[in-house]
């Protein structure tokens, strides 16, 4: 009887460990392995080499696009943290029912397909888009403004629209968890509302901020569809470079190495976030 239960338990454990191994670790392992091989006249050579990584560090195009992408994604992350924090704080101060409605409203976009949202943004910002039509109809301008779309700022704006919910939710949840009596105590001791936010809410909600930052940075950094669709001739980000190695170039080893660098950047972001979290809770 016991044997059979043990068998079940072992089977279950194998299943739980096996799935992530099969679908997460094995693929990642495969592309890490690929990144140390190389292509020679179209054929894969399975010999250990650092050539692909050297190519990344030696190539000014790879490096400058990498840094540009990091800057773009950090910028969008910071804007979303500030906006997300404001919205989350505002919502958490409303009566419960309104609070729920507010948060639901901001989460609603998550129920729509990502690609539809990008198209929607383009429909709004385009030369014949809603925004231009409105401005022309109101007589403010006579020719459509072309600067709204197909530029780095269009990518920036679209990132903010797409990923704001991922900033609001974790921050809101961490503010929610702060016991109300801390605020009451602060008020009893003569603290103003600003004091309460600065000395109680902000420090205690930092874990949520860290998670929000992480979500925003990692997701924008890997997103190569948005830049392509709204970035115009400036819509060339690091994700696109990775992608390009799997197209006609068919240089999988180099593509894999660039993907490892993308992954490493995200892991680094997670690491920094972890440290920040530990630092914020230790205080």
């Amino acid at each position: 009887m016991d044997d059979r239960r043990d068998l079940w338990r072992m089977g279950w454990a194998a299943f739980c460990l096996g799935l992530p191994f099969l679908f997460v670790l094995a693929p990642i392992g495969t592309f890490i392995l690929y990144s140390f091989w190389h292509n020679e006249s179209g054929a894969l050579v399975r010999e250990f080499t650092l050539e692909n990584y050297r190519a990344f560090f030696a190539d000014p195009v790879f490096r400058s696009i990498y840094l540009q992408t990091v800057a773009l994604c950090l910028g969008a992350t910071i804007v979303n943290l500030v906006a997300g924090y404001g919205i989350a704080l505002f919502a958490s101060r409303r009566p419960p029912r309104l609070r729920f409605a507010l948060i639901l409203m901001f989460m609603l976009p998550l129920f729509t397909s990502y690609i539809i949202k990008v198209y929607a943004v383009r429909g709004i910002l385009g030369h014949r888009g809603v925004l231009n039509e409105l401005l022309i109809a109101s007589g403010l301008i006579s020719e459509p403004i072309t600067a709204f779309i197909f530029s780095q700022s269009a990518i920036f704006l679209t990132f903010i629209v797409l990923y704001l919910p991922f900033a609001i939710l974790p921050i809101y949840l961490s503010i929610e968890r702060i016991p109300e009596n801390l605020g009451t105590a602060s008020a009893d001791l003569g603290g103003s509302q600003m004091d309460e936010i600065r000395h109680i809410i902000l420090p205690l909600s930092l874990p949520g901020v860290v998670v929000a930052a992480l979500f925003n940075f990692v997701m924008t950094f890997g997103d190569f569809v948005t830049p392509t669709m709204v970035g115009g001739t400036e819509g060339f980000t690091f994700g696109r470079i990775v992608f390009s190695q799997f197209g006609v170039a068919l240089n999988w080893p180099l593509g894999a190495a660039l993907a490892v660098i993308l992954l490493a950047t995200s892991v680094l972001a997670v690491g920094v976030a972890g440290l920040a979290m530990r630092w914020s809770t230790a205080r």
Partner: protein
Amino acid sequence: MALTRRGMAGMIAGAMVTATLRPAFAAGGEVRMLIWDGYADPEWVADFEKQTGYTVRATYATSADEQIAKMKASGGKDYDIVAVDSASIKTFVDQKLITPLDMARLSSFDNLLPDFKNFQGPIFGGVRYGVPLAWGSLGLVYDKATFPEPPKSWAVMWDPKYKGRVISQDDANNNINLGAIMLGLDDPFNVKPDEFPLIRTKLAELRGNLLTYFAGFDEGTTLFAENNVVLMFSMGELSAIALQKKGFDVGYAIPDEGALGWMDSLTLSAGATNVDGAYAWMNFLLQAKYGADMTKKFGYGSTTSAEGAPDYTSRLKWAKPPEDLAMRQTVWNEVRSGAN
């Protein structure tokens, strides 16, 4: 280009032939084909089956890579006929996936229009591996209100007058080809190392004049429609047709420098088991009547009928395997990054 052409044709056709169930009678059974959309219309298949007693099983591929993978997996034993484009046919020959045609058995060869009889794409070492079936081009789509006459040169895309109203493909290979054609290189598919910087400069200049790049057939026509675009380095004749259907007054031009052309040939699989059936299909399909029907239904140029077909075949540069795809991608990445 190939992928979208297929997708579009698939939508237009709306119907697909799959395994046709029919009692095996008369001559030798099933002809299995690995082809592109629009190459086995149900009406033609019905005619063929009635006339010959063979049955047809068509498998549709979405890319040449997929075709090669499928053929390599079985050494070609899963198919009797493969429709191969002129840029990849060399790979098929090199990998021994297709086998020379027996011209004595290809009675329909005489039906080809002269231009296509002389087409050298499927001939390697004096041996013919394929018979041309369909073709198309990557031309210039232009707004007729802005250009009452079709533009004579690709240079119009570089004209600062149209800054921000031009769109171009986001495709390494096709852009290098365009640059090479613009520079008037003898062989746009064999760019020399010292010519790449010239092409890069040319394409970088174009970048500054563009509204945006586009990836994919639908994206191109959508961007054209949503913005005040007047010129597009297009993915083919169907781009203009799709825009005209949306109500845009556009034309399709092949400038004097020439344009890229694609040409698909029917080939015999190295693992063909129904060789008789394969020749029967080639001899059946390569008739003016089906060629004209293909142009009408799918917009492809036909090799057997000039009916409804454009007159610019002589100005097309038929796509060949390029000298170095990795190099082309590197140059294209440099252009895209704006590093120039």
